[in-house]
Point group: C2
Chain length 221, copies 2
């Protein structure tokens, strides 16, 4: 049986969970409190991060490397388009969300408001929370701008870029940190992706001590 | 003519320069002081980062997305192996150096000692410099451990993983922050990669105000 070591509110884990579910690859989910850095966990991934996929007898770390591996070994349905320029655009946007968005928004909102408490590293830094709350507006506007020209974030088909973005936004929506009234285009995009069967497992997530927001699992938010 | 907007001591730019040179793709280098965030630069890449490749009439940002694009459009010589598991291992290590190594080492040593001055953001934070100097030892030992089992970092052929690692280490070697005496395996590996024709342009780099270390361009260091 394939196994995914993950954490429910890790957007990187979520991107892989969505990819696995979309490709109908069955997997047993194992919740890993990765910040505790157990010896066994570090043996599987010396980088000390989730997700790690156990598949084909190997431990495969790194969310993007995993998704590329799945795309190559289970190509159907495709989450990267065929043409090199279109594939570049998908990868550019995955890097945008997992790099820039994560640094400017996720690590500041989710990092301060949830992970500090989970990891017992003190009180939230309110300056960082404010910076995150400001930065998410720029990012939602950028997404709206893309979605004015395209059906999905990277073009006219759903790709890994949509999964990367939805992974971060769904974690932030869990703690009510997304203003869905800011852009109708972004709300419609999220409604489409949220209603996919692949999203169901994410909407059932619960982290002890942090109940999900009221609209989190609501398809009609 | 292809054009690469880069900065000499950006390891992300260097990874792309090595890939272009190895694949014998001619390119005009344009130095970009990306932290000044000029309007024109932000139009090319709203993420505000180098490198950006101008090729086939497009502006292509993000170093890994560029390298994947080049691998797909100019496949020879290959910098990713053929098998999915081997490709995963390359991508895992690229993420290791561009993520973990960059956060723990490059951003702390090069970031504090060079970029603070270039960007006029104050004095180096000596705590961060000390953390970086400590962390690089762990990383060199990890590389040594890999190189005891393999000819190159990701396996028996040279790949993008070697270019990612050499890009970070060469920037740190520019400021004398690599202890080459720590591991013979790492030194031998770096000597091999440093002597490739693709490396020449990097060894000629100069950043005003920061002369390179004595051994920086020396192939017999």
């Amino acid at each position: 049986m394939n196994r995914l070591y993950h954490f429910p509110l890790s957007p990187f884990s979520r991107k892989v969970r969505l990819t696995l579910a979309e490709k109908k690859i069955e997997v047993e989910l194992v919740e890993e409190r990765y910040w505790e850095q157990s010896q066994e966990f570090l043996r599987r991934n010396p980088a000390g991060k989730v997700p790690i996929l156990r598949m084909d007898g190997r431990f495969l770390p790194d969310s993007l490397a995993i998704c590329e591996y799945l795309e190559e070994t289970v190509p159907d349905p495709a989450l990267l388009p065929g043409k090199a320029e279109a594939r570049h655009e998908v990868r550019r946007l995955v890097a945008w969300f997992d790099g820039k968005f994560n640094d400017e928004v996720t690590s500041k909102l989710l990092g301060e408001r949830v992970f500090r408490k989970l990891m017992s590293t003190g009180y939230p830094d309110s300056t960082r929370v404010k910076e995150g709350a400001k930065a998410i507006k720029f990012h939602l506007d950028y997404m709206a701008w893309l979605l004015e020209q395209r059906r999905w974030l990277a073009g006219d088909v759903m790709t890994l870029a949509d999964f990367a973005a939805a992974s971060h936004l769904s974690c932030l929506d869990y703690i009510s940190d997304v203003d869905w009234d800011r852009s109708e285009a972004v709300r419609d995009w999220y409604a489409k992706i949220k209603s996919r069967p692949a999203f169901r497992s994410l909407l059932a997530d619960q982290v002890s001590g942090f109940p999900p927001s009221r609209q989190y699992a609501d398809l009609d938010f």
